[in-house]
Amino acid sequence: MTNENKIRMQLQCPMPKLDFDVITLGHGSGGTLTNKLLDCGVFDILSNNFLDKRHDGAFLNMNGQMAFSTDSFLVSPIFFPGGNIGEIAVNGTVNDLAVCGAQPKYLSLSFIIEEGLKMTEFWEVLLAIRSACEEANVKIVTGDTKVVEKGKGDKIFINTSGVGAIHPKANIDEGNIKKGDKIIVSGNIATHGMSIMSIREGLDFDTTIESDTTNLNHTISQLLDEYGEKIHLLKDPTRGGVATVLKEIAESSKFGIDLFENNLPIDEQVGSACELLGLDPLYVANEGLFISFVDASIADSFLDSLKQLDKGKNAQIIGTVVVEHPKQVILESSIGGKRVVNMLPGEQLPRIC
């Protein structure tokens, strides 16, 4: 969410007066307190024709091929430079649908809140959710709120699921990948993960590293309008980073992938933070980023178009699909050496020195 939007939301949406400063177990009981929380907060903020019916589920009209996706969001801390868990929860599912070639339309929204969460924090998360929905042009049509005892959660967990109709020109399928396809990343890698890491670990840099969380559906939709079936595959490299996604794709196909370290776009500060902590940016999480496998014939034009768009200005061609070394991802290092890129056995742990 842009700062301007944040300020606008806060001015327009003063928090209603509630009897409690914090979320209590009662707010998840289904009784009066739950209703009060919903009436004074959730429904007001997220109001739309579907949600306002307040039925057990939403009544939707849908035709044709749809994509359906779900994701759960646990972020610590829930507020970080460049966003909060609310935006990530909306953008995450929106982007999962977008990389299916779908135009996300309706989302469900479920909270699991830890007792004691400040009402002001919950309010801020709700505002971020609304703003992210407006920007992505999606509606929250059904939802749920549960509260767990203190110590049994981490402030707030959010699940969103979403549906959207497949773009008429989209044909996204791993089976479409072919030799010579160019692999294009839409922006700087490792930004979100290092933003979270730097605040979690109290690392001081000259300027704050802001998360790249954003919706990608409009950007992808424009590219699909223009390039249609020439876009063979889209993926969002969130957890596990770019390396993990590419390795997964290579493993499930009959092709190999050549990757070029010198082409990987990375913000200088993010790169330094990775160096400092001994982390490989290829494995660090991203949020507002997608990887495209496109037909070689359109690769340059696709890259130019993507670079014209706000969310693709740092885009780069980072690799090629090859028939040599099937199922392997081979990276050409900055000095011209070669190495294999594998998945990590677990999460990356900062090294000693």
């Binding site: 392997q328 190495r339 090294r351 020195c353």
Partner: protein, 361 residues
């Protein structure tokens, strides 16, 4: 950073290495960071066949004694201390579990970047005992020493360190003295020399007739270091040179040394996989005994045997390559390491595994 990763310069160094080499040479890079750089940048395959790189014992988590890991786990699980540790220590196998598993079983284990953060935790939690798992080479010793000095000044009785400090020059000496050693020259660990200086390497080089080049970690550093060792070898010279002079001063960092020797004294030290090496570790001086977690909690844990199939000692002494181990990539993988070098990104086995064709299925 890009200037140390320039492909044109790399090619120049490689061409020069190829022009210079006339016979087979074996060079050990002492530090795990250099091993990581060699493998990550694909340098080993780019070198001429005559040059064999072998990977030294310079991975601090790899050489931390098994028994000490068991002690750390015991302190965290049974004594309910808040155990603070550097990140890559968490996956190193103890005899029954690692610290990550202990954490999953309810131990309060926190990943920190500096022991000074542990001091802050100790101040904020006066009711709880905080133990910092002070592992590392000479590079981490000043900060660990400083944490003890701070705790002493502030009268923090709830802070102590479980120390396993290892020193590089005695380990190099032990490696040279090993009967099976075939090392012709060394890349010494640049970061260690930023603290301790280069003085200890002169007698080592002279007595054993080996070239030693103090080397950095970027790909061009490593290539230049190799070239410098090679030039000495081909000219039948032995001496100490400093490739990493942009960072390493001849005398090191006297302030940091002062801090270290205020708190620590040199002692014999057990190296996992290698055994005891004389004068190769740091122990807390008498004045600071109160901050020695091993003594404070008087933990006695039976010495457990290493996994019988693990040949990590031979790997860290450079006698064998990871792929020469019968269990490499079979029973022993990063998800199920039989020995410590399969854990840290700087461990030779993990580096070979991760950047080789052996994908984790």
């Amino acid at each position: 950073m890009k200037e140390y990763r320039d492909p044109q310069l790399a090619k120049k160094y490689l061409d020069e290495i190829k022009r210079t080499v006339t016979q087979d040479w074996t060079i050990m890079e002492v530090c795990g960071g250099q091993t990581h750089s060699l493998v990550k940048n694909g340098i080993i395959e780019m070198l001429p066949e005559q040059i064999t790189m072998i990977h030294g014992p310079g991975c601090p988590v790899c050489v931390t004694p098994l028994n000490l890991i068991d002690k750390a786990i015991y302190l965290a699980l049974v004594k309910n201390v808040i155990l603070c540790s550097f990140g890559d220590m968490l996956r190193v196998p103890g005899s029954r579990m690692n610290l990550l598993e202990a954490k999953a079983k309810g131990a309060d284990i926190r990943v920190l970047y500096s022991p000074l953060e542990a001091i802050k935790i100790a101040e904020e939690n006066p009711e709880q005992d905080i133990v910092f798992f002070a592992v590392g080479f000479e590079t981490t010793a000043p900060a660990n020493a400083l944490s003890v000095i701070h705790a002493h000044r502030k009268g923090l009785s709830n802070y102590s360190i479980l120390a396993s400090h290892v020193l590089v020059p005695p380990a190099m000496k032990a490696v040279i003295n090993d009967e099976e050693n075939q090392i012709d020259g060394f890349l010494a660990a640049g970061h260690v020399c930023t603290i301790m200086g280069n003085a200890e390497y002169y007698p080592l080089s002279e007595q054993h007739g080996v070239p030693i080049v103090v080397t950095g970690f970027e790909p061009l550093d490593v290539l230049q270091g190799i070239l410098m060792v090679l030039r000495q070898l081909e000219a039948d010279k032995t001496g100490v040179e400093n490739q990493y002079s942009r960072i390493v001063k001849e005398e090191g960092n006297p302030e940091a040394q002062k801090m270290i020797f205020e708190v620590f004294e040199v002692k014999d030290q057990m190296w996992r996989g290698i055994g005891e090496i004389p004068d190769s570790g740091f122990a807390l001086k008498d004045k600071y005994q109160a901050f020695d977690a091993a003594k404070k909690y008087n933990v006695e844990i039976e010495e457990a045997p290493e996994h019988p199939d693990c040949i990590s000692g031979q790997i860290m002494k450079g006698i064998k390559k990871p792929y020469e181990c019968s269990q490499f990539g079979k029973k022993c993988k990063p998800t199920n390491p039989l020995g410590a070098p399969m854990v840290s990104s700087e461990g030779a086995c993990a580096a070979y595994y991760h950047f080789s064709g052996l994908a984790e299925k």
